[in-house]
């Protein structure tokens, strides 16, 4: 065995080595350094900047779930926001009587149950037809919440947590506290994701995605695998929704509409379907793009020259944001369908082999 710290390629010689969570020591070290950096990052940021990070991490958890259902199992879902909503409302209803470390997993479990039920049509239908079934669930969720007095008919239900182990959670430390909670949950769920995919259940997901009849012939149960994929993806969504509820201090149904589902799907595509790194890069890219274009739009509005060259009655600056969002998705689909993950892969492989070209 060569020195594991100096590996520049794939030297795995056994099945056990091939199924490790981390491929080599360098990867463990880099992940460790990344985690330390992420833990220290809030020290250098304003409170409101930490809020942006929190949203990115929450969306990353939801996109991870979507990547299990859509990226790995190949089951198109446009209902991930509804699963987030199920988790969020579960948290909102249980938060007055349970601590947050119970309400959030509970939100995930209730969402998983919803995912299991929504997945039942996947036993009979595929592709666009399945997407329509998930779309129906998304719309039914919003409809049901809107007509449920117990859920304030979609109006706000406060979700407040003022104290944790003697630490008072106030406006000043709210975002920092939740940053570390969300980061912890994300790390746990990423490790669980990697752990799942190296085992037989993960391989079953891929096999069913690639050819469910062949998977069936090889002894896997495609129906059970699909339901499992839906339930697990929804669990991740539910956990993300629960965290969002605490982050925003209240739950309103507007957060969990089709628009959010489509945005999550866009984040998954931009990041790279079926990858952990893509699940984090996608939300980060979309959120930073939003911030960047917002700044550009504000600058354009304040710039007299730009205003003088735009036709009267045409608000180019305001139109910039929706335009850029759509354009980015189209460009990624056309020129980089593997998403940002592919760029990450290329950069990583360059440095892995460095200073050698091959």
């Amino acid at each position: 065995m060569r020195n594991p710290w100096a590996q520049t390629g794939n030297y795995r010689t056994s099945y056990a080595q091939d199924t490790t969570i981390f491929f080599n020591y360098r990867e463990i070290l880099s992940v460790g350094l990344l985690l330390v950096a992420l833990c220290l990052l809030p020290l250098f940021l304003e409170r409101s900047q930490v809020l942006v990070l929190n949203f990115i991490l929450i969306y990353a958890i939801a996109v991870l779930g979507l990547n299990i259902t859509t990226g790995y199992a190949g089951l198109i879902s446009v209902g991930q926001a509804a699963f987030m909503g199920v988790g969020a409302y579960t948290v909102a209803l249980s938060a007055p009587s349970l601590p947050f470390w119970l309400t959030i997993p509970l939100g995930g479990l209730v969402a998983a149950l919803a995912g299991f039920l929504v997945g039942i049509p996947s036993l009979r239908v595929k592709h666009l037809y399945l997407a329509l079934a998930t779309l129906a669930f998304q719309e039914i969720f919003v409809w049901v919440v809107g007509r449920s007095p117990a859920l304030a008919q979609g109006s706000a239900i406060p979700v407040e947590m003022r104290n944790f182990l003697g630490l008072e959670i106030t406006f000043r430390n709210h975002n920092y506290f939740w940053y570390y909670v969300i980061l912890f949950v994300l790390v746990v769920l990423v490790v669980a994701w990697r752990n799942l995919l190296r085992g037989k259940y993960g391989r079953a997901l891929i096999a069913v995605r690639d050819n469910d009849r062949a998977a069936d012939a090889m002894g896997m149960d495609p129906g059970r695998t699909k339901l499992f994929a839906f339930a697990l993806g929804a669990f991740y969504g539910g956990v993300a929704g629960g965290l969002l509820a605490y982050m925003q201090r209240a739950v309103v149904v507007e957060e969990f509409t089709l628009v959010r589902s489509v945005a999550l799907l866009a984040m998954a595509i931009v990041g790279g379907l079926g990858t952990v790194v893509g699940s984090i890069l996608g939300p980060a890219f979309i959120e930073f793009l939003r911030l960047g274009v917002e700044r550009l739009s504000e600058w354009m509005k304040a710039n007299p020259f730009i205003q003088s060259i735009t036709p009267a009655g045409v608000d180019v600056a305001s139109a910039l944001l929706p335009l850029s969002f759509g354009l980015v998705i189209v460009l990624f689909l056309m020129f980089e369908p593997r998403g940002l993950y592919n760029w990450w892969r290329l950069v990583r492989s360059y440095f892995r082999n460095w200073p050698f070209r091959y």
Binding site: S48, G146, Q153, V253, E254, R290, S318
Partner: protein
């Protein structure tokens, strides 16, 4: 050496004079939908706030204070609203916040309560001024629920035991009025025959109108934005139901947008509004015309009631800041502005001339427990392509009874 010292002293005095002349900067924050859903309301509303702020700075409405009016587009997305508010709290510590959408405002209630930031939202959802976490919210005009109950009282003047259908937006914004309307109907002897939810994209409303007609609806009360209402009005005209069913709605259903979208079909539509129309000669409307011309606003913006609404919100905020400076030795912050707002009553009520006054002659007033500014409203009707007032200003007698039964 002596010359250098004299020069330094002169420069110091000059700089000090410049600083004193410029005064302090105080921040006012607004975030709302300049783009995205409901931007037809948010765009003119934002323009109203921007223009009134520019005017306030030019006229030095608050002596020795420069207003830093931050107007930002949240694209009708709650996470953006939260981020913009928290960013402002970190960086510019606004003395007052002018909010926008119902969902975001309801969601931000706990945060606003915690940071004790006086907030004047564009949304008139009653839940914003209902407990809990309602202390710092102030509605510039009467709530949607009050407007709808006032319309029901208006119906009751001419027709007893009327049969009414409610058509509301499929959101907390729309649903806010339903419970209050049901309670009011019970007290007035009216019947709510149906409650339907209709959002944007309602291109054919034949089934809706036929169903409401079959249910015996004589009146439809809308709580929505202008687009869906305009489509329903056009379909009612096409089906000949415009003569059979009278339609009316709360503040965001009407205005120039409705007339532009519905055309002839808008004729006869009734609208509950606290705002003066552009045809009226009041100090507020005159200022609106003047500022729209000065700042090159389009005719669409000038004609929009939402432009008036934005100006009224900004006017209340800036007046509260001005009074805070007078009352608290120049200190303008969230605390003093809050004290000024709740002191804006009785002889200290505010009369900018954007909204109608109550019978007592009060246009805008607030107390610690009465968090609605303009409590007077009128019913206006579309006649000859214009909204014309058909009642004197009145305040709903019934609403306070049905609000907390």
């Amino acid at each position: 050496m002596k010359r250098a010292m004299t020069l330094a002293l002169a420069v110091t005095i000059g700089l000090l004079g410049l600083v004193l002349a410029q005064g302090r900067t105080v921040t006012l924050l607004w975030s709302g939908a300049i783009t995205g859903p409901t931007s037809d309301v948010g765009g003119p509303y934002a323009a109203g706030i921007e223009d009134y702020c520019r005017y306030a700075n030019e006229q030095r409405l608050i002596p020795n204070v420069t207003l830093n009016c931050i107007v930002r587009d949240d694209q009708y997305q709650n996470p953006n609203t939260q981020r913009i508010l928290e960013e402002a709290l970190d960086r510019s510590k606004p003395a007052i916040y002018l909010g926008y959408s119902t969902g975001a405002m309801l969601q931000l209630k706990p945060l606003i309560q915690e940071v004790k930031l006086p907030t004047i939202p564009a949304s008139a959802h009653i839940g914003l001024i209902d407990p809990p976490n309602n202390q710092y919210f102030f509605l510039p005009v009467s709530s949607y629920s009050e407007q709808v109950v006032a319309l029901m009282e208006y119906i009751n003047r001419s027709e007893k035991n009327a049969r009414i259908a409610l058509v509301v937006n499929p959101s907390p914004f729309g649903r806010a009025v339903v419970d209050h309307a049901r309670r009011a109907a019970q007290r007035l002897g009216q019947t709510i025959v149906d409650v339907r939810e209709v959002g944007g994209g309602n291109l054919d409303n034949t089934a809706l109108l036929r169903a409401l007609d079959a249910a015996g609806a004589q009146y439809i009360i809308h709580q929505n934005v202008a687009g869906p209402v305009a489509n329903i009005l056009k379909d009612a005209k096409r089906l000949g139901l415009d003569r059979k069913i009278k339609q009316m709605g709360a503040v965001y259903t009407g205005g120039s947008d409705l007339i532009r979208l519905a055309g002839d079909a808008a004729e006869g539509y009734l609208w509950a509004s606290s705002y003066y129309t552009l045809d009226e000669n009041t100090p507020g409307i005159a200022l609106q015309r003047q500022l729209a011309t000065r700042y090159n606003r389009s005719a669409d913006i000038l004609n929009s009631t939402n432009y008036t609404a934005g100006m009224l919100a900004a006017a209340i905020a800036i007046e509260a800041m001005k009074r805070a400076a007078q009352r608290f030795s120049g200190r303008i912050d969230n605390d003093t502005v809050y004290q000024s707002i709740i002191g804006m009553n009785g002889p200290n009520a505010f009369k900018p001339g954007f909204a109608v006054s109550t019978k007592a002659g009060i246009e805008i007033d607030f107390t610690r427990s009465e968090q609605t500014g303009a409590e007077g409203l009128r019913v206006l009707e579309v006649r000859g392509g214009k909204f014309v007032p058909i009642t004197d200003p009145f305040t709903s007698a019934l609403f306070r009874q049905v609000r907390n039964p």
